[in-house]
Structures are given as C-alpha cells and as structure tokens.
Assembly symmetry: C2
Homo-oligomer: 416 residues x 2
Amino acid sequence: MRDMLGREDVIAIAEAQRRMVSHLVIKEPLSVSISIDRAYERVLSEDIHSPEDMPGFSRSTVDGFAVNSSDTFGATDSIPAYLTIIHEILMGEEPAFQLKKGTAAKIATGGMLPAGADAVIMLEHSQYLNAGLIEVFKPVAPGENVISASEDVKKSELIVKKGSVLRPQDIAALAGIGITAVRVYEKPKVSIIGTGDEIVPAESGRQPGQVRDMNSYSLAGFLIQYGGIPVKKGIFKDVYEEIRDVVQRALRDSDMVLITGGSSVGTKDMTAEIINSLGSPGVLFHGVALKPGKPTIGAVVDGVPVFGLPGHPAAVVVCFEIFILPILRMLTGRQEKETRDQRTIKARLARNISSSQGREEHVRVALEERDGEVWADPVLGKSGLIRTLVKADGTIVIPAQMRGIEEGESVEVKVY
Amino acid sequence: MRDMLGREDVIAIAEAQRRMVSHLVIKEPLSVSISIDRAYERVLSEDIHSPEDMPGFSRSTVDGFAVNSSDTFGATDSIPAYLTIIHEILMGEEPAFQLKKGTAAKIATGGMLPAGADAVIMLEHSQYLNAGLIEVFKPVAPGENVISASEDVKKSELIVKKGSVLRPQDIAALAGIGITAVRVYEKPKVSIIGTGDEIVPAESGRQPGQVRDMNSYSLAGFLIQYGGIPVKKGIFKDVYEEIRDVVQRALRDSDMVLITGGSSVGTKDMTAEIINSLGSPGVLFHGVALKPGKPTIGAVVDGVPVFGLPGHPAAVVVCFEIFILPILRMLTGRQEKETRDQRTIKARLARNISSSQGREEHVRVALEERDGEVWADPVLGKSGLIRTLVKADGTIVIPAQMRGIEEGESVEVKVY
C-alpha cells in the first residue's frame, strides 16, 4: 500500500518475510566436534550413518526357548513336539555351540540366538517335562520372536540427518550405534542494541520519565532458547553517530543485528537511515500489517539480517516469533521438519475479541482450565508493558481477513 | 487385577501414578540467589512483588501534545481549540514546568506528562498554525492516550509467583521493575543406574550378544530438558549385591533414582527385591496397563521415588513422560499451570492402528505435511530399538477403552 504521496505504508507479513529471505546470504555455519553428552539440542552438521548392522546378531524378543522352527511344525496341545534342552544362553553371551535338530536352548528377551536356531518359542507355549526336556504345544514360523542381525539398522544406513536438532532420543540412537562424538554447528551470534533516550539499564537507578531496559532480556532469552548466542551491545542514546557506530561494529562481529527502541517517529526514521548508510540493499520494509509490531523495520545489510524493533515489550515478543525466529533457524543450520515446532494448545475463547481487517492481530491470552476444558482469556489493556507480559501464556492469531472471534469458539493457542 | 494365585497383574496408569504420589515426601528444594541473566528456565523460589509503581509517571501512549483535557472540550473541525506550545518534552526527561490553561507541550510516545496535563492529543487531530500555536479539532477525555503512574503495576503487586518457570518475558518483566537478582530452586539430582549383563558402555567395543547403553543418554537428555541434573552411576552386571550397593548410594545422594534394564523376568524380580530391601514402603506397582512400558516398577523408599524401567529404549521414553516427568516437576519446585505443557499438534492418521482394549497404547508417529495438512504416520516394526527412536516425531495415545483408530481420523500428537 502506498499513500497519496507515494510513500509506502504497511506491507503484509508474508511479503515482509519474503523480502528478507530473498536478500539474505546464509552461509553454512562453522562446525565443531563435541561429545554426545554435550550435544543435546545442538544442530548436527554431518549425516550420521551406522558403522555396523544393528543389533548385529539375531536377538530374541521374548523369554523362551531358541529352536529350529522346523522342529515345531505341526505341534498341537494333543500332539506336542518334544525338544531336549541343551543349554541356557546367558544375557550378553555369544553362544559357543550349534543347535542341532531336536534340541532347544533357554533364552531371555534380548539374548543372542545360537547358530542353527531361527525362532524362539514363548515360555507360555511350552512346558517342562523334566529339567532336560520340554513339550511344545504350538509351532513357530522361521524368524518368529526374533530380530535378525540387520533388522533394526543396516550398516551405512542414514541414522540422523545433517541439520537435525539432536533430541534425547537421537543422542540415545547415536550411543546405540557406538557414535560418541559428533560434529555440530557453532551457534550464531546475534547482537542486541538498545536505543532510546529514556531507556536505562535494569540495574541502575531510574529517574521520573525513564524506563528500564526490558527488551534485551526477552530477546536474549528467546535467542538462547532457539540456539543462538545473544551479544548485548548496551543501551545507546538517540544520537546518530553513536548508534551508527555500534550497528557497524555489530555487523562485523555477528550473524544478525537487533535494534530495539526508537518508539518515536523521528527515531524510527533515524534507525532506518543508519541502516541504509551501512550497506545494501538496506531497509526492505518499514511498517507491517501486524498488531502489535506495526512499526517494525526489516533490513539486510550486505547479506546480514538487521531488524529495528518497536520499543513495546509485547511487540518485541511477537516480532521475534514472526520475523526473527525463521531467520535464526536458518542461521543455526537447522533443517528440521517445521511440523515439530508448530505446537499449540486447543482452547475455547473466553471473551469476544474484535480485530481490524487488513492486519494480522496477535492477541495474548491466559489459559485456564474450567470443567475439564481449557479456556483462553484475552489479556487486554493499554497498560501492556509489564503485567500482560507475565500474565499471558501464549497468543492466538486473528488472520488479516477476519474481523474478530466470538466467545466460545475453538482457537489454537501458540504457547511460549 | 490379580491372577489365580493372588498375584497382582498390571494396574491402570492413573492408579500407578496415584500410589507414587501418595507415598512421596516432597520437600521444598534449597534455593540460591542468581542474576536474572542466568535465570532463564529456572524455577523461582520466592514471590516477586513490584518495589514501585510502574511506569511510575504518567506516560503518553501516542505522539502528540500533552494538554489539560478541559481546554479541548467542544473542539470540532469548524470550531477548533487553540493552544500555545510552550515546550517540547524530550524522551527520558522529567518536565520541570507546570502546564497552564491554554497551553500544550509536544510529547512523543513514552514521554512523561508535565504537571497540569491529563491527556494527550494525537498529532493527527491537530495542526500547527505557527511554531508556537496549534489548532485542535477533536476533544480528548481526561486520561486519554495516557498510562497513569500506577496503571501498569502497583507498588507491592505480585509480578511473578513462587514456583514459576522463568520465561524470557518473565525475566523482562523483572528487569522492568528493577529486580536483577532472584532466588531460584536448586535443581534436583536424579541418579541413572544401568543394569544388564548384556549392556556395555556406548564408547567401548562390543561383542556379539552385547548391546550398547542407550537409555542413560535419553534419560539424561530428558532430565536436563525438564530442569533436573542427571547423575550417571554407570552400568552394572545383574549381580544382587552390586546393584543393591549402587541403589543404596544413589538413594543417599539423589532426589530420585532410575534403574534401567533388567528385561528378563528373573532380573526384574531382582530389581524389585533390592528396592524392597532398602526401605519402605518399597515397590508400589510392578506392571502397568501401558504399551510400551508394561513391566515398569514404581517404588518409594523412605520418601524417595525409585523407578525400575524396562530395557526397551522406546518404553523408556514413554515411561519418562508418564511416570517420571510428573514427579520431576514436583522435585523442581514448579507450580506451573499444567496447561502450558500440554502442547500437541493436530494431525490426521495416515494408517489404521489397532490396539488391545484394557491398556493405554502410545504409538510413535512421524509427521509429514501433504497438501497443506499434517499427517501422522505410525512408526511400526518390532525392530524398534534404534530406527523408530529417530524416525518418530511424537506419539499419539490410544486410551485403554478403545480398540484402535482409523485412517484419516483426527489425532493429537504429543511432540518430543
């Protein structure tokens, strides 16, 4: 949308995201080798193939007797098969004998089948006649109750893909195939620059008219949570040279730059000017059809993503999710299924909410359980600096084309 | 359920959980003071009240002019009000003057209102006649476009509750009220004891018949993820005295004890005997109506929770979620809304799955997107040691009273 003077107004979220991505230069991050003990939640930088067949030997899946299945064919309750017990296979033991026709070996779940055995009879389907002889009442098929040597994993099979975020169960699988060190990507560094004549550090005294820095704390936390390293550059007065200087330094030593604050009109323009002065293409959008978060600036400077974020703490949370997180994921080297991240809670809306058509609205909600159902109660109020931040459990999104959602309707709550 | 000999068979999951909770002795954990920079995801051990009103001064929510609202009453496009501009209030500045009748001061979003002003006129509703005089076309009500001094937070108001897990936005709120160090609970220590004659450490060589330890890696990862400290005690052969000795030591120096392995019948009984020999009440259940995870042992020894987990890696993952996680939460001191954790993805089932009535079945699924819809495809196969662990994105639960779910039906997938 452009206004009468030809100035561009807000653009749609998808268009803003598209512009960013089309100008980014995402290089594959450097990688480092670490022990799997420390690799939880890190991003794997190599495909891991199994160095061997797994389990590597034929393994029983039940407690019973290892047999040659042909010895049991035709066995019934009235005409059982008789087998001589020649051995008890111990757990972890490699049987040093060959199972001959008409014999069986006692075996536990996980035990290794001896040569000559191709199936396991469950304890329940047999009976001791004496310590050395069993009756079998049911035939077993070849391979029954057995995992064969390469049935779980074949040698060279791809086990965990490059770009995966390593979950506890992935690390367990690596341990299972004997891989105890892996290469992972180094985490991207993201600079956080606070600006605003009224902003003071959280730990310092505060005069009337001043507010404490909050946004560097929420941004740092989200960056850590999603695999980035926050680098706090400090808080700067609204002085062109000072901010330009720190942004320039940040561009040199980090993979993404976040500038917060600049809530007044003049300051926002200054942030945009500074960004444009430092490289190309510079500012790609300045104003999006999003509430909260409308005055967001998105830019790319010589391949590096730069955001100018509104000063409002609630807007920073929404902007993180919509604009920063997708790019952070690329910078971490993740090539995850996105579906793993789309977690929501289904709830019923506790109150009508209205929304302006033409902009996507993110409404913060508190969750509460009533009569076994989860309800999402909008956390409202213009006084949204601190209280709504802590009260909200998540957000619901009202798409740009809708005018609102009615009480009692089912909504999907993104929890954060 | 008891069998013909009066031995108890499997019990329902809810009953197993109830027995554990009724015998636990959960003490409030010790706490430690740390900087908010390091407090992300830690559990707050004190209620945090605001030491002051916030924002602490009357603050403009728009760019415009601070006025005495009564000066604007009755203003219209045709009969505007005229106000003399006496000052421009700078961001972060405490205005050192009193706004008199008939005057106004330029103010930006976030600026502090001067004494005598009670509202702010938006830039759009006014017009400069000259540098010192504006016309106002619309009246403002008292308080309009202003956040009053204590409107966001009142002094002494409860901001974050004891027992909360500190999210990035909670830390930001603490920064906002000037709290830069908080007391958090120390993390609970959870011992992991591997048992099984066939189990060898992941980093050592492996002979036929042996399998590498996987479960200590998945358990350690989940414990870290949910705020515990895993203490790996090592892997022990199925020797009564050795296992009893390490379990006894673990009971002394940890808040929960997890014993994995012991997949054969005799070994499971040994684990139960060892637990019973170490204190009371001892084993509370041994066998649950759950698949996978049926042979789980739940016990409390002099107040400390102890679990004997099946050796199967997939069962360990399910047991963690159902039995260990709820107790771990208590041990961490969390008093969170549970709803925050019940995250699922809605998907359609890609294949029929059947289930035995009478036990809750947890079916691992892989998620895939087709035509804009998410589908959950069951990850099947008896060879479930390694491959299904890495292939699965989450689980769906088939309740005990159901016989299965049909292809195409909508399911909720718990992602992990």
